[in-house]
């Protein structure tokens, strides 16, 4: 074997490990949790399916500001508040069902966009410190939100629906319960068990790959190797799936228990599609250019401040949609705290999926969503089985969410620090060489 080559592989592996250390740590924690919690796999899978689709849009809303170099957008909390305002309005007018939710979203879009513009303007004044600004802005907005819905609704803003108002007529109830028509309205439209969904996915995927192979073969008169490989993997997975569904009882139960909300799934796919599409447009490449380097983008004639505001607006609006999907799934929400942890948990989930302050994609969001919720499901029971106290598991999962963010922040800042040192070191070296000459 060539020693040079193994060395290269070694450094590649090391680079990958250091780049994905947050994810690897988290997988370890999840594995320990699953082992000690010893819950049935069908329960875990069905819970993940529910939670993943409930939260995925919120996690996806974080991606574009990362492209724009603004880091993790803690101010998606404002989008969540806009969504809650929309829901409160439709419930005040007794609107029902899916139409009600659509109107709630329609109300929250201009609200979220307006808040997004203000946020973007503030971020433009605090370049380099967007994350802390976003976080403090979230707390500030919480105060304003409480002022509006706890004290101004009733005396100043005319609202009198006894279903959501407090008895005194001042302020909205602390807990809002949606009626049967709103509760899960989007999810209820069409649900499919996992096995049927997998049949469809395998069918579509195989058809797509075969078509592409045939099309490529006809056009270029040679087989597309990458496509062939993918088709092989696809067929292999399909055979495993068919074997599992026919002969493994636990897998059959898992598939039956896991009901996938198809409409929510489509919405997620639309948002993913939008993000991919945006990445290929002029706007998307401008956003990424701004994220790479503001001075260079400016020199290239990009309106940096405007692009940054657009990125925040998109993020806030997607977050508003995400929060509506999240709350309709839950069916009830605490008026004054449902938005509080949205930022922290979504960000932690994205980071767990392998994203960083500088890099984020759809794959990170999905993988992170699965891993993060896996930890949330197993932690209390694992805590109970290890320490004899479920509370410890609950504290642990909060700790893990904060620690993941802290670790990602430290690693990012550390990397910049090291790079800068290397740069100045190189400069000093050049200076010395020049002196010698």
């Amino acid at each position: 074997m060539n020693p040079k080559r193994t060395y290269k592989i070694g450094t590649e592996v090391k680079k990958w490990v250091t780049g994905n250390i947050v994810m690897l740590l988290f997988i370890t924690i999840c594995a320990i949790g699953i082992y000690f919690a010893a819950q049935p796999s069908s329960y875990i899978a069905s819970e993940i399916a529910i939670r993943l689709f409930r939260n995925l849009i919120l996690i996806l809303s974080l991606i574009i500001p990362v492209w724009a170099g603004m880091g993790l957008n803690f101010s998606i909390v404002l989008g969540a508040m806009a969504a809650q305002a929309g829901l409160i309005v439709i419930m005040n007018f007794d609107m029902k069902g899916i139409a009600g939710l659509v109107i709630a979203f329609a109300i929250s879009v201009p609200l979220a966009a307006g808040l997004g513009i203000l946020t973007g303007k503030l971020f433009n004044k605090t370049k380099g410190q967007e994350m802390i600004t976003g976080m403090i802005l979230g707390y500030f907005a919480k105060g304003v939100y409480e002022l509006i819905f706890m004290y101004l609704c009733g005396p100043v803003i005319p609202m009198d629906n006894p279903q959501i108002m407090l008895e005194s007529g001042v302020g909205i109830n602390g807990i809002i319960t949606m009626d049967a028509s709103l509760n899960g309205a989007v999810d209820k439209i069409w649900k499919l068990p996992l096995d049927k969904l997998l049949w469809i996915i395998f069918g579509v995927l195989t058809a797509f790959l075969v078509l592409r192979l045939v099309y490529g073969g006809v056009k270029r008169k040679q087989a597309d190797k990458k496509c062939l490989l993918l088709l092989g993997i696809d067929l292999l997975l399909f055979i495993i799936f068919v074997y599992a569904i026919k002969s493994l009882l636990s897998f059959q139960i898992l598939c039956m228990m896991t009901q996938v909300p198809m409409v929510t799934c489509f919405l997620v796919m639309i948002i993913c599609g939008f993000i991919v599409f945006l990445g290929r447009t002029k706007l998307g490449s401008d956003i990424k250019a701004v994220g790479q380097s503001i001075p260079i983008a400016q020199a290239a004639g990009i309106a940096v401040n405007k692009i940054r505001i657009i990125a925040v607006v998109i993020s806030t609006v997607i977050a508003a949609l995400g929060q509506i999907i999240y709350l309709q799934n839950l069916g009830t929400f605490t008026t004054y705290s449902a938005h509080e942890q949205i930022g922290t948990f979504s960000i932690a989930a994205l980071l767990v999926g392998g994203a960083s302050i500088k890099k984020a994609g759809i794959g990170h969001a999905i993988l992170g969503g699965v891993l993060f919720h896996l930890m949330f499901i197993v932690a209390p029971i694992a805590g109970k089985n290890i320490f004899n106290d479920a509370q410890i598991g609950e504290y642990f999962r909060v700790f893990a969410s904060y620690a993941v963010i802290a670790l990602a922040l430290v690693l990012h800042a550390w990397r910049i620090h090291v790079e800068e040192k290397r740069k100045t070191g190189a400069l000093v070296q050049i200076g010395k060489e020049a002196e010698v000459k």
């Binding site: 503030l122 004044k125 605090t126 370049k127 380099g128 410190q129 994350m131 802390i132 600004t133 976080m135 403090i136 802005l137 707390y139 500030f140 919480k142 105060g143 304003v144 409480e146 002022l147 706890m150 004290y151 407090l166 005194s168 001042v170 302020g171 320490f387 004899n388 106290d389 509370q391 410890i392 504290y395 642990f396 909060v398 700790f399 904060y402 620690a403 963010i405 802290a406 922040l409 430290v410 990012h412 800042a413 550390w414 910049i416 620090h417």
Partner: protein
């Protein structure tokens, strides 16, 4: 005219808004017939118990770290030391002194490690500090449940771990406040508390004028330049972080004795923000601060809060309007300060 304009500029717009707000609240106190003397007594105590926590911002800002959002690290040290002092049943002033001494030991270690970390993440201190604080507070939630404390007074009567809030009646409830306390009319003057605060402020004032303090200021305001005068900026930042953590630990003990109880678990999570807000209201910025800023800021901020509480509950008996005001004011002023950082550079 010119003089007043210059005076206003010196005072700054945010402070004027805060003072105007305080005036309105005081007028409301008059109109609503709220007992003024009681409010004043509470106000004095609130300023006293919060001032050392706000003072913790001084060494961190002067050494160049900026606003110390990692203050919960110091607070945790103070709480742990407090628990140890309760475990061994130290009472009265002795208890407070013991708690402070133990907390200093913890704080020096934690502050040193925190300083080392902050030196590696220059430029992101605020965010890293915030999330380090959050992580450690939530990790300590687990620790409070499993640490081997045995005193039945501080443990849950049933179940695992320490209590959520621990009333200090048996130990040192308001021991500093009641030391040499006297009354002017109906207003209680907590002499011991005021003296303690004065001592800490005085020590920090002297520190700012000492050789070390000046070196720290030089390193904080211009690390590149100070290198040529033989000052190690990283070392100064570590000293700043240690001092800040020590003051945070002592601050929470003074706060707890004046409040009457220790609050464990998630209580310290958000405690950095009011301290940061107070010094900013007092005229500090992300890179400039003096003892005067700390005292003035705590005075204005805590006065607003203690006057707002009875006014708010007189207007809206239900709910907690003053808490909403606190959230808006403290985060609003931090946002204002953040928006100024870029302009300063």
């Amino acid at each position: 005219m010119k003089k007043t304009k210059r005076y206003i500029q010196k005072l700054g717009v945010p402070r004027l808004i805060m003072l105007a707000f305080l005036m309105i609240l005081l007028i409301a106190v008059g109109i609503l017939h709220i007992p003024f003397t009681l409010t004043l007594s509470q106000c004095i105590v609130r300023v006293g118990i919060n001032i050392v926590l706000a003072l913790a911002m001084l060494p961190s800002i002067r050494s160049g770290i900026g606003m110390n959002f990692g203050l919960p690290l110091g607070i945790i040290c103070g709480l742990l030391a407090g628990m140890i002092s309760l475990e061994y049943n130290f009472t009265g002033l002795m208890g407070i002194l013991m708690a402070m001494l133990i907390s200093i030991i913890f704080s020096i270690i934690v502050g040193w490690l925190y300083g080392l970390l902050l030196n590696k993440v220059k430029g992101s201190e605020m965010m890293v500090g915030t999330y380090m604080g959050f992580s450690i507070v939530s990790l300590m939630c687990i620790a409070w449940m499993i640490l081997p404390f045995h005193n039945t007074g501080i443990r849950w009567p049933m179940g695992n771990g320490l209590r959520m809030t621990i009333t200090l009646e048996q130990w040192y409830d308001r021991a500093l406040n009641e030391l040499w306390m006297f009354k002017i009319g109906e207003v209680e003057i907590p002499t011991g508390l005021i003296l303690t605060c004065a001592v800490f402020c005085g020590v920090m004032w002297l520190f700012c004028r000492s050789r070390l303090g000046i070196r720290m200021l030089a390193a904080g305001s211009n690390p590149e330049f100070s290198k040529f005068s033989g000052i190690d900026a990283n070392r100064q930042r570590i000293i700043g972080s240690i001092l800040s953590t020590v003051l945070g630990g002592i601050g929470i003990i003074i706060y707890a004795q004046g409040f009457g109880f220790y609050q464990l678990y998630t209580a310290p999570l958000m405690m950095a923000f009011p301290a940061v807000a107070a010094v900013l209201i007092g005229g500090a910025t992300a890179s400039k601060i003096s003892v005067g800023n700390v005292v003035l800021g705590t005075l204005i901020f805590q006065s607003i809060l203690s006057v707002a509480a009875p006014v708010a509950s007189a207007i809206f008996p239900e709910g907690n309007l003053s808490e909403v005001f606190r959230t808006i004011i403290s985060n609003g002023i931090i946002l204002y300060a953040l928006s100024k950082i870029g302009r300063e550079e």
